[in-house]
Symmetry: C2
Subunit: 254 residues, 2 copies
């Protein structure tokens, strides 16, 4: 058996998220179907760096799976892609060590959230941006974002109902980029709680509109109360952009 690590992009629009669910179209099930075809009917399970919700996209989700097949690294993407629908695409694959785990070994993730701020919606971006036609104070949003950077208990920014115990995460960086009529939030951290990116963006947008002040963020974090933070913005503006792993010693391959 060989363990393969692969980078995959998908358009979340027509998916009920990453994870297999009965009767639903999910990214995981499409990829497993494709791999099962390549393996002549024997089921192959894939494990991702983390689930993504319905309508959330990925530019660089990472997953692993085990295979008895000896296919050169560079041929794997084409082999899988030939069995995938047009909204999922494997970008790269490589043989990795048997102990590599796409979820547990991830040390950093980058998410991008796209917001359309013009007064009229560009319908061609409706699946990939939040349409938010309000004047925003970007400077205040950037200040507020600085309060979120660092190691904090992010209970206030986690959707309730999660069974995760440890709510402490480290956010390395939040960039707010202006690109013509679009705002892009680029968030990097060692991990994100359930809906954490979407609640942070929702809160920053409320700061932008003047409903909250930048310095409110510290109190908000301290309160450890989901009710204090802003709304959860919709999934369709969110992209899982990159997952990083520790550099591994290549002799592990032997």
């Amino acid at each position: 058996m060989q363990r393969i690590k692969a980078v995959v992009s998908y358009d979340g629009t027509d998916f009920s998220g990453w994870q297999v669910q009965p009767e639903k179209r999910t990214v995981q099930s499409e990829i497993e179907k494709a791999l099962t075809k390549i393996h002549k009917g024997s089921h192959v399970e894939v494990t991702a760096s983390g689930r993504t919700d319905a309508s959330v996209h990925a530019l660089g989700q990472v997953m692993h799976f085990d295979t008895p097949l000896c296919i050169p690294d560079e041929k794997w993407p084409k082999a899988i892609n030939s069995h995938l629908p047009e909204d999922v695409y494997v970008l790269a694959a490589e043989r990795t060590t048997a102990d590599f785990h796409a979820r547990f070994d991830a040390i950093e993730k980058e998410y991008i959230y796209r917001v359309q701020t013009n007064s009229q919606p560009d319908i061609f971006r409706r699946r990939y941006t939040l349409f938010y036609p309000y004047p925003l104070n970007i400077e205040n949003m950037k200040q507020a974002a600085e309060h979120l950077v660092g190691t904090h208990d992010f209970t206030s920014f986690c959707a309730s109902g999660t069974d995760v115990k440890d709510m402490v995460r480290t956010v390395y960086k939040i960039d707010i980029l202006e690109d013509r009529d679009e705002l892009q939030f680029v968030l990097r951290g060692n991990g994100f709680l359930y809906n954490m990116v979407r609640i942070m963006v929702g809160t920053l947008l409320e700061v932008g509109r003047g409903k909250k002040a930048p310095h409110d963020i510290s109190e908000l974090l301290a309160a450890r109360d989901r009710g204090k933070a802003g709304k959860t913005v919709p999934g369709h503006g969110l992209f899982l952009a990159e997952v990083k792993y520790k550099n591994r010693v290549s002799s592990n391959y032997a």
Copy 2:
């Protein structure tokens, strides 16, 4: 009755083109349904600057319709948009003269055709670009395009089966812009025959790949034979960008 001229954008992906067809989802029928609702059930017909085919998009299609309602210009878009699905959007509307005709009065059209030239498809642009992962000689394509500019008989660039008699059109300009991994063809002319833009782009791409030489284009035009030109590229890369009209004397409004 008042005649209203409106500018409309649509994502052609899920439409069988502009024109009403029985049992098909078309842009015209969605807009007429919306207008009929505003007019409490009485049917309102709209006339566009021209049809667009299935999966062809519009950034600025122009249409006109007649109405007995007195709604200020700036309120029309919102009124119509509130009854439209999310893939059609009215950008602007204004009262015009009773003799204005969206099709017959158009003096210039601009189309854009988008081509993705990277080796791996960006799935997020799959509905809006032709994926064409081949090395292209852009300089040769630009030279070839110059041969198409001007007043010519474009029979070689018109899909067969049309009942149009006069095949002479004037192409004002063809720009080929490189934007990262994308090529954009911007074509302006006084009018385009059926599939003319798509056949011109298909032919220019063949020049880019070295299958045709730039100077072949003149012969091709002279041949007046659809069989000599390149393939028709798919509709989903095509956008009707703008339609221009003569400036009209404003006293006509009275």
